[in-house]
Amino acid sequence: MNTAVDTDYKPPLSERLEPYMAVIAPLAMIIAIFLFMAVASPDRFYRISNLELILQDAALYMPMAMAMTFVITQRGIDLSVGSVAVLSAIIMAFLVKQYGFSIYVGIPIALTIGALLGLINGLVITRFNVPDLIGTLAMDLVYKGLALLLAKGLVLARFPDILTEMGRGQTPFFIPTPAVIGILTMVAGYYILQRTHFGRYTVAIGSSPESAELTGIGVKRHKVYAYVLCGACAALAGLMLTGKQNAIQATMAPFFNLHVIAAVVVGGTSLFGGRASIIGSFSGVLLLAMMLNALVTLRIEFFWQPVASGFVIISSVALYAWIQKKDRDGAGGWFADLKTSEGQKLVRFSALLIGTLIALLAIGGVFAGDIAPSG
């Protein structure tokens, strides 16, 4: 036991809090949203049905965020989860609707197809040495194309009860069925990370691929495993989405990729690898769901949603970078180096660019002629 605790060294509060930031930061933002909504729109936001809606929305992203945590911790990224979800759900839908497959076979088939698509991702990355970013982005196009080819714009609808239960069912308690599924995957992810070789090696690979290789870990094999997990979890999300809408279409789930990555990154899992937080990813998913719900409740135009998501990603990544002292090279704060000659050049450059745009707009405005309708 660690009885030899040193008492004469006390790190500053910020350093002692650092390991817990993954939970504290999203939690603080969640509380901030709660407080804000208590003032802005308490009657509509705090309805039980609305809180259940938030959980239901969040649940969809939980399996993918769990799996993405592993991929990102290994210094990878999977930009194909959206189309993997849709493609495996569409194949399941065809088998069930057109070929009369039982849904109890269809669900495992969808999960297996998801895992298989993940396997293809993993092999493309590890065998052909295609960087994760490009590899999964390209496979995303492939899977999306295949989904469109299969469905040809058709909407497949009305599925057996088990699927709608997965997507929008209610347990006798407060929590919706999809949230139960999502939380179970999160708990499983937590144990996989803490208690299995795969979890341990995931952190080791992300921490230092060279060291992992030197200690005899099958780095490529475990990378493939992470993508397989990601594919299977994406398929699960695809099933939950199909159940939620009771319909599936090739153009669904357009914002899956960025939303999932955002949740993971907001939760404190490092994009530089080695630092994983399943609890953080869970809070990240909840935070994003609450934020989007708050936007809807406040009747803010739908098209602000990606703007808000992007803002949350940038601010949280910047926050973690700052906490990690990655940019504390003695330069002081974020804006301190604007006074250096290098900073001054950048300021002048930015001013020139903005000035040019303003000048062009002014010229356009001055010389503007009659309006030609585009229709």
Binding site: R200, A212, T215
Partner: protein, 253 residues
Amino acid sequence: MADTPLVQMRGITKRFGGVTALQNVDLSAYAGEVLAIVGDNGAGKSTLIKVLTGVYQPTEGDIYIDGEKTEFSNHADAAKAGIDAVYQTLALADHLDPAANMFLGNELTKKVFGITVLDNKKMRSETERVLMERLGVRLKSLDAPTDSLSGGQRQAVAIARAVYHEGLRVLVMDEPTAALGPQETARTLKLIKALKAQGLAVILISHSLDDVFEVADRVHVQRRGQCVGVALTAESSTQEVLGMIVGAKEDAA
């Protein structure tokens, strides 16, 4: 010192294409001694230990363990024969705690409901035990990630990983003190002495002759791919060894 060397390399030659990295090098190490390998950059020190640890296969020459001829086709073979190395980079995963690092690639497991899971508790207590008993090191916290430890403590974790294997007999250490401050260096040298006292053969590669003369029993001097001499530290001086490294003797003759 025993009569038969624990490990002996005879007439090792290693060529990479047209480049001869090692030429007819002999090396022997005995149980319970520290053998230092010194030499300028490019003298063949690293190649020599890579042959010893099975990473490279010699073009000519043989390796003997307890007087018996052995061949290593990879590093795992050498490790099985009791030869392991602590690399200069230490090969630690900085985000994992010391226990996870010590058992990295070799985790202890237990069965829970028939499923094999990592036994984190046992790994932690074993890490604490090995660090204490073998190296006399006590870490303040076994929960903190390894990158929060000092250079010397990180070194200790890497060494603990090597000595945990019961069969370890020869430990090669590549520049263990290169990145350390004076205090940490002193601590690492103490670790090396402790390993020697436990009967291991420690092969130390170092640029620091001060360190070498503090812990080593013998010094093997490499120059331009050849062994130009082996000196007993008790009967030699840094001056003499330095002369051998730069080849002053030859030039004068």
